[in-house]
Symmetry: C2
Subunit: 236 residues, 2 copies
Amino acid sequence: MKNSNTDIPSCTKCGNTSGILCNLSMKEKDELSCGKQENVFKKGEVIFKEGHNAYNLFCIHKGKVKLSKLGKDGKEQIVRLAKAGDILGYRSLLSNEPYHGTATAMEETEICIITKEVFQKVNEDNYKLSLNLIQLLSKDLKSAEQHLIDVAQKTVKERISEALMLLIDSFGYLEDKRTINVALTRSEIADLAGTTTETTIRTLAQLSTDNIIKLEGKNILVTNYKELVKTSNTYD
Amino acid sequence: MKNSNTDIPSCTKCGNTSGILCNLSMKEKDELSCGKQENVFKKGEVIFKEGHNAYNLFCIHKGKVKLSKLGKDGKEQIVRLAKAGDILGYRSLLSNEPYHGTATAMEETEICIITKEVFQKVNEDNYKLSLNLIQLLSKDLKSAEQHLIDVAQKTVKERISEALMLLIDSFGYLEDKRTINVALTRSEIADLAGTTTETTIRTLAQLSTDNIIKLEGKNILVTNYKELVKTSNTYD
DNA sequence: GATAAAATATGATTTAAATCAATGTTTTGT
DNA sequence: ACAAAACATTGATTTAAATCATATTTTATC
């Protein structure tokens, strides 16, 4: 983690538009900015760790982050993906609990670190923000429950297809509109879909044979999105 | 559903102490009570249905409720259990979304039905309540994520053991301190653990052979809780 | 209290996916 | 540029749990 002069601007001048903090007033953004730290995490670096005490709110300015939890004999399960504008750690801050998962940078990622006190202050004074947080949690809970059912009931092929859809949903495509804009290892895709590396490789190969995707190293090109959705057996 | 004169009291006189609404001031409880409906649901009756528009908050006065979602080819997955004092449907109300799951009475259950408007009003005026809701959601999300990892990584025996622990945690024991205070069918236990009825039956039989539980019809007696925890492979 | 319906139980078989094993291919750091 | 490490691939084998099939017991209903 590099804690140096980055070119991350103050919250009032942040270019991100999609995050939950983006709707705050200038005054509130100013409050948040006050004393915030800006840090750059390299690919693979851990931002915070499951079980550790929570003192900060993390707001992604640029980059990609995975949130994972450890399961049986250390097997990792990716529970959420986050991108620019998304905030991390707020659950633990508001509930006074240790971090629920481990956040790891998936590529060079710029993050603003806001103290618990500042965040709580802003939250207390803004019912709208609380409501947005509730809605965010609600959304996360919904997708966690969906994910749960998927893992419990779907086949690996369906789950891998859905994992790819989640990646597209979270990070979109490159300029060519077909290459998924994130490079995961096969093992990470496995951690997302809740299966093993070998099975993931075989299943991706199968999806490739079915002409649904095209594999170019770590890049995955989606050549038939409609069929991918069908294969994932998703209806909503 | 019987919508008749029940003996459910006004919120100000509600005897429950564990729920999120119990900490409200008398004035707020009075507001909630205003215009609330009291209903009795018989065992098996549906309180609200997944996908339907959400107009009400449900507060359990007495009884037991399961929340489930439908998965592939109609297989049910129980995502949460609720008891006296617990509220249902608040997520959908606050996010303006359809109900995320289906709530079904597991036994004769008395429920207070509060309108969206009344609930929102009380919520808006009370930061403490918002915070409590956030913490509740946070807790639910945490357990959903844990459940997800369990289903993805644990064996059926571990999951069934954990399901029993969840039942104990949610509903406790009968007076004898060993009989789990809820009667589920084997198929419902399967829906909770994410497996099939046959496998559940076999696994329960095995736990019985291991002298961890004792089966008496639908009643399940826990004779060795420590070993049950061990078998569930849970560490928190 | 008879009869249907639902729930429980048990055995046999199949199957999807994990595991084990070995090898080839990229990345990464020095 | 090179070695070491990390990652990807493919094949063979095992296994946990689902599925299928059928019988028995319990529970509800007329």
